[in-house]
């Protein structure tokens, strides 16, 4: 999936996360994360974002995320929404039973 423009999803409400994805010229995901629970969950949030982007085939992007205590499912959902918006794509791939 190619990131063509800036895509944003999520809100600043409690239990949510805002994920902002921007195009990047070179390979790699450059991730900036801000979270109130950075100490306990920072690594896990980053893992979910990176895994979600990898499943979508996003290999080049700047990602900026501000977390407000989101669960993994919310982190994944907001990352997907931001990525599809940034790729200007509606070619969604839904798997039976989801990715567990």
């Amino acid at each position: 999936m190619e990131i063509k423009k800036t895509g944003v999803a999520g809100t600043m409400e409690s239990s949510d996360i805002i994920v902002r994805i921007e195009p990047k010229e070179t390979e790699g995901i450059e991730l900036e994360l801000e979270s109130a629970v950075m100490q306990q969950y920072g690594r896990q949030i980053e893992k979910v974002i990176r895994e979600t982007l990898s499943e979508l085939g996003v290999t080049k992007a700047y990602v900026n995320a501000t977390d407000k205590g989101a669960l993994d499912c919310t982190v994944a959902a907001r990352t997907q929404a931001a990525a599809y918006r940034a790729a200007e794509s509606t070619d969604f791939v839904w798997k039976f039973g989801g990715v567990k």
């Binding site: 949510d16 919310t74 959902a77 039973g97 567990k100």
Partner: protein
């Protein structure tokens, strides 16, 4: 024994906090909404969120329902592509005007089940009737698919269609409620009532719940967790009613032992319909007890 559906809690599909907490309030069913509570610009985000929640979170034995956008909106099929694969118990179709709406939705569900390798027929459906035309077609809607677990009234759109407004007494909904409950019972499925929007008026809410139970409805949608406990209280048989029901069952058992199908209790005749009602009441109480134990 069929499932209890006294309360169906509406949860906006783009609200992660409410999605996370939805199971703690004790409603019989949880309904994640992709339709009216989600802004048009956030439909994609809500779809991702509900899909991820359904496939990653555990809601225990709660019945999980998703309200999709109607097919004519251009969003409904996209909702189904995601939601059928996430496998909630039931998909709620809004704005159902005719049997054709249900059949078209079912065709899409069946196609997706086949594509995804889900056993055909596994996904349940319910249809919300929200227009004058839909109310007049309640019977054909109720009989339109074996997947239907129930039909529901959506009052806000319905009163708009009638060019009236909602009142505390609900006089404007009498015909629709009567049609829907009769159609549902004729088809052997559940009748589910609309929301009561004034969350601060508990007295009005209880009066409405008492009335719809009396009419034969099986439950009601709720928009605030505060409405769940009073609703369950209305739909749970009282100890007095249960004692009477037990006495009826004992009296008929004695009569049957004597070779008679008719008994009397305190001078009143007990025949088949009286026994059926007593049995239903005892079953309801038993199911309510089971739900409460599971919630703990």
């Amino acid at each position: 024994m069929s499932r209890l559906r006294r309360s169906m809690l509406f949860v906006p599909g783009n609200n992660p906090g409410m999605i996370r907490d939805a199971h703690i309030y004790g409603s019989d069913s949880i309904m994640f909404d992709l339709e009216d509570s989600v802004a048009i610009t956030e439909k994609d985000a809500a779809r991702f969120l509900v899909y991820e929640a359904l496939t990653r979170l555990h809601y225990g034995s709660k019945e999980l329902v998703v309200r999709i956008n109607d097919l004519s909106s251009g969003l409904g099929v996209a909702d189904l592509e995601a939601i059928v694969r996430a496998q909630p118990d039931v998909i709620r179709l809004p704005k159902t005007d005719s049997a054709k709406d249900v059949i078209e939705c079912e065709r899409e569900i069946e196609r997706i089940e086949r594509e995804a390798g889900i056993p055909v027929g596994k996904t349940g459906m319910m249809a919300a009737i929200e227009s004058a035309n839909g109310v007049l077609n309640a019977r054909e809607i109720a009989f339109s698919s074996k997947r239907l677990i129930g039909i529901a009234l959506g009052a806000e759109d319905y009163v708009t269609d009638l060019k009236t407004t909602r009142s505390p007494e609900g006089i404007e909904l009498m015909f629709a409620r009567g049609m829907i409950v009769n159609a549902a019972k004729a088809a052997g499925i559940m009748a589910l009532d609309t929301v009561y929007s004034d969350v601060n008026n508990e007295e009005g809410f209880i009066a409405e719940a008492t009335m719809i139970r009396k009419m034969g409805f099986d439950g009601k949608s709720v928009i605030n967790p505060r409405q769940i406990a009073p609703l369950h209280a209305v739909f749970t048989p009282s100890e007095k009613d249960l004692m009477k029901a037990r006495a009826i069952m004992e009296a008929i058992a004695e009569a049957n032992a004597r070779g008679s199908g008719v008994a009397s209790l305190k001078g009143k005749m007990i025949d088949k319909p009286v026994v059926a009602r007593a049995q239903y009441l005892l079953e309801m109480a038993e199911r309510a007890k089971t739900m409460t134990v599971e919630d703990i």
